[in-house]
Amino acid sequence: MSIFNELYHYRELLKTNIKKEIRGKYKGSFLGVLWSFLNPLLMVLVYAIVFPYIMRIKQEHYLIYLITGIIPWNFFTTVVTSGCNCVWINGGIIKKVFFPREILPISVVLAALVNFFISCIVILLFLIFGGVGLNINIVWLPLIAIIQAMFSLGLLFILSAINVYIRDIEYLVAFFMNLVFYATPILYNASMFPENYQFVLKLNPMTHFIGAYRDIFYNQVAPNFLTLLFLFILSSIILVIGYSIFNKLEKGFAEEV
């Protein structure tokens, strides 16, 4: 597989790109990279104020239930919505320098993955101080996160490549993600969803990802490995399809951006 050779050869570019994504975002601010940690914390704060008092959902430890859904969802949505134009905005260098174009979406996903792990510290803090406590099943976190990263990368390959040719994708994706957000049990419990439409939740891969995170953090049990296997197979298929689409379209990038 020449793609792996190429990525290995350009590993320094991948590394500096990830560094730029993570550190460059907060460069010039007083707190710097600390914002990767503060951002999810402040977001949780907003939900902590709004939901328990306004929504009055009867869910035990609702705040923890909420953040174990919101933070993984944020990882997904950052990759897909803000990564969508990763090829387009790098048009300047694409037109002038040859390098494996795959590096662009891959570094978006890996940077988001690093940020997600930092955000998980926030989850852990809430688990410890929120009365739920820690348990050994947290060791499955990297596995679930990596499968989710594969899934997101597959989608991002497709979306970022098509977005170079049809710029509407970016806006359609923003709308669609909003829709999927409510079709995923993040704010509510799956049992609150209408009986007749339960299949919508079941067909949504994000339901199962969030479910796995909730198992290890909130329910304190091992994730359902059959579901994980299914997610892994699905993600692999999307990754392969996504990569082949990207590979087809990348030859025209320099002329289209």
Partner: protein, 247 residues
């Protein structure tokens, strides 16, 4: 697949390249749907039936008027764009200096940007570490190297960018009009560096309009006119003929 002759650095055979020209490009889905019928797509053939071989160690100048296809040919060699017909084979590590300062991030220091920029050319960390001192020395930036690039003057920016580009160790160097960088002193230094690279048996393809430099540096010139090769040969005779026709 055909194997390239090991004495050749670049082999191009029967190459065609055309670009799409649409008067007002439909970018959005709406425009694509509505104007799908009366959307005139015109193609402009930029390169027609180009065949050439460049041997290892040759220093070749591509000359020609604006729009003759020189830069397009260079981009095809780099694999930034792909031909419509025909083949291009290259042999050896290839670096194209079409753009200075690619991947620079203004908020990072000059030193960090050396890593960003050099990594785009495919260098590994160890390779950059080895060249770091050489690059900093060549750029003559001194202590400014640890300041953010956004605080640089445009001259300093270009000097740093050129220093990285010229110190990337490649067997084939493709250069597009980037020699006019910095003050006279720095330009002389760049020219000397190119001469040194030439003498160390690198293959260099250079697109330029400064014919004086061409005659001093190159031993072969290719004159492109309207997308085909008008003349190919010894640098003195090609430049002389070119000046007679276009000068």
């Amino acid at each position: 697949m055909k194997k390239i002759d090991s004495n050749n650095a670049i082999e191009i055979e029967k190459l065609y390249k055309s670009f799409k020209i649409n008067s007002d490009k439909p970018r959005t889905l709406k425009e694509k749907l509505i104007f799908s019928k009366n959307n005139r797509v015109e193609y402009v053939e930029v390169l027609k039936n180009i065949s050439l071989t460049i041997k290892k160690g040759e220093t070749v100048a591509l000359i020609g008027t604006n729009g003759s296809g020189k830069s397009t040919l260079l981009k095809l060699m780099t694999k930034i764009i792909y031909p419509n017909k025909g083949t291009i084979f290259t042999n050896g590590k290839l670096t194209s200096l079409l753009e200075l300062g690619a991947g620079f991030h203004p908020d990072f220091t000059g030193r960090e940007n050396i890593y960003f920029n050099a990594s785009i050319f495919g260098l590994t960390k160890a390779e950059i570490d080895n060249r770091l001192n050489e690059i900093i020395e060549f750029s003559e930036l001194g202590d400014f190297i640890d300041n953010p690039v956004r605080t640089y003057s445009s001259g300093m920016y270009m000097r740093l960018a050129f220093s990285v580009a010229i110190n990337v160790d490649a067997e084939i160097l493709l250069i597009d009009e980037i020699l006019a960088v910095g003050d006279q002193h720095f330009q002389d230094k760049c020219f000397a560096k190119l001469k040194e690279l030439k003498d160390s048996d690198k293959t260099i393809v250079i697109v330029t309009h400064s014919l004086g430099n061409v005659e001093k540096l190159c031993n072969r010139a290719i004159w492109l006119k309207d997308g085909h090769i008008e003349m190919d040969g010894d640098v003195k005779s090609v430049v002389k003929k070119y000046l007679e026709v276009c000068g």
